[in-house]
């Protein structure tokens, strides 16, 4: 393992680089998956009861979700303050082809050779809450390699780094809001939330809308992952329908013969809040560049 990776500071999410036996001893005092699953299930059951009693379905993750241990000291304890978005918040920064090269959407051509793993195409549309395409906007992704290893000095999972895969990509959405990345299916990887904690395979997505209030960073998952019920991050979204919105669909029409499997995932942003008059006043010039 390269030195710059082993010489990093302690963190609850670092996996000890030691051999499995030593790691196991170190982790003895740590909570088990059974402990965490009990907490996750209790929250899920309480939510189901609330729904039956007429509570509104939750569509975003809970900020306060104790099974994700790192959130305990990092969630606001006071209610979010309702605000009407004003002026600057009703507009979004403009990105264009000056910012992003067309080849940045292919994560498999960033080095001299082909990365290892299952080549995939991930494609879909970015839409606003009215179903309108978000055109000419920035989409950024990052992910682990096929072994579940990130090119990041704090990732100490003893899985191989792939010299032909960095795992970052960008693109600008088309006029119909479409995006398309060619990449490698990421592997699941262990983390230190509790003993034997594994993240389901996922790709991080960062998105902008036509208004800054639509800004979102999220994660796309793959269908049928057996780790979903065990993962405190996926489960921060307590509503099953809402969770399902993060799972891509296998799409054989996107699959390219003898080349790559295709997954479709559409993203819907909140809003918009801006009125048509304001929209017309400024136009979409920045978005179309």
């Amino acid at each position: 393992m390269p030195e710059d990776i082993t010489a990093e500071l302690e963190s609850e999410e670092l996996v000890p680089p030691a051999e499995p036996k030593a790691a196991h001893q170190l982790d003895k005092a740590i909570e088990s998956q059974a402990d965490l699953s009990a907490e996750i299930n209790a929250i899920g059951e309480a939510y189901q009861r609330a729904l039956k009693d007429g509570a509104q379905a939750e569509i975003q993750p809970r900020l306060d979700y104790p099974p994700y241990r790192s959130s305990i000291l990092r969630h606001p304890t006071k209610s979010l303050q309702h605000a009407d978005p004003e002026t600057i918040e009703l507009y979004s920064p403009a990105f264009g082809h000056q910012d992003v090269h067309a080849l940045e959407s292919d994560l498999t051509i960033q080095h001299n050779g082909e990365p290892l793993g299952e080549r995939i195409i991930v494609s879909g549309k970015v839409l606003d809450g009215d179903g309108r395409p978000v055109a000419g906007q920035l989409v950024e992704i990052w992910q682990a390699n096929s072994s579940g290893r990130y090119i990041h000095k704090r990732d100490q999972h003893p899985a191989p780094i792939d010299p032909n895969f960095t795992g970052i990509g960008r693109c600008i959405t088309g006029p119909d809001g479409s995006y398309r990345f060619t990449t490698i299916k990421p592997g699941a990887y262990p983390w230190k939330n509790h003993l034997n904690a594994w993240r389901p395979a996922h790709i991080h997505f960062s998105l902008f809308g036509t208004e800054f209030t639509q800004r979102i960073i999220t994660q796309m998952y793959f269908p049928g992952d057996q780790l979903f019920p065990l993962d405190p991050i996926y489960q921060t979204i307590v509503d099953q329908d809402a969770r399902d919105r993060l799972v891509a669909t296998y799409d054989h029409s996107l699959t390219e013969p003898e080349w790559a499997l295709g997954y479709n995932w559409d993203i819907v942003l909140t809003g918009p809040k801006r009125t048509w008059t304001e929209n017309e006043a400024y136009g979409d010039a920045g978005d179309e560049e």
Binding site: Y65, L80, E86, T87, P93, A94, Q98, D99, I217
Partner: protein, 185 residues
Amino acid sequence: MSTKLVPTPGQTVGPFYGYALPFEKDNELLAPGSPGSIRLQGTVYDGAGHTIPDAILEIWQPDAEGNIVQRTGSLVRDGYTFTGWGRGAVGNTGVFTFTTVNPGPTKPGAAPFISVALFARGLTNRLFTRIYLPEDTEALANDPLLSALDPERRKTLIARRDPDGGLTWDIRLQGGDETVFLDFQ
């Protein structure tokens, strides 16, 4: 217009954004030292009062005259074009820094502010907030958001003016002086 769609949920930015989201001059909306440029800095704290080493912020603001800029070129900066948007990851001590301009009022009498999106490991969804300039006390008193807040909480959204002309504004995710975070829905 058409039927309303349900938005896709957010998720935490996680611990490993560091090789993906930052880019060259990401926090330099203007070249440091250029006329009119100021330093905006602050520290991000968790509920135990410890600094957070793995948070990343974005700012989005009007120019010094209060114009909302719609120009590309934030990711590949040419050194001259002010795009109004920047991104800055905190360092090991939880400190973030931007080089920018004082935002102007977007309409006469409005209190100038910078819009902020905050992401962090352990933060399950992004948070929005605002950084107001401290000077125009009349505009601050008339601001719709600020006037809806208790005076103690209002303070968390107003930056301090540094002796060098810059701004200091800290983020506290929890506690008595927890920063006011916004819900636009």
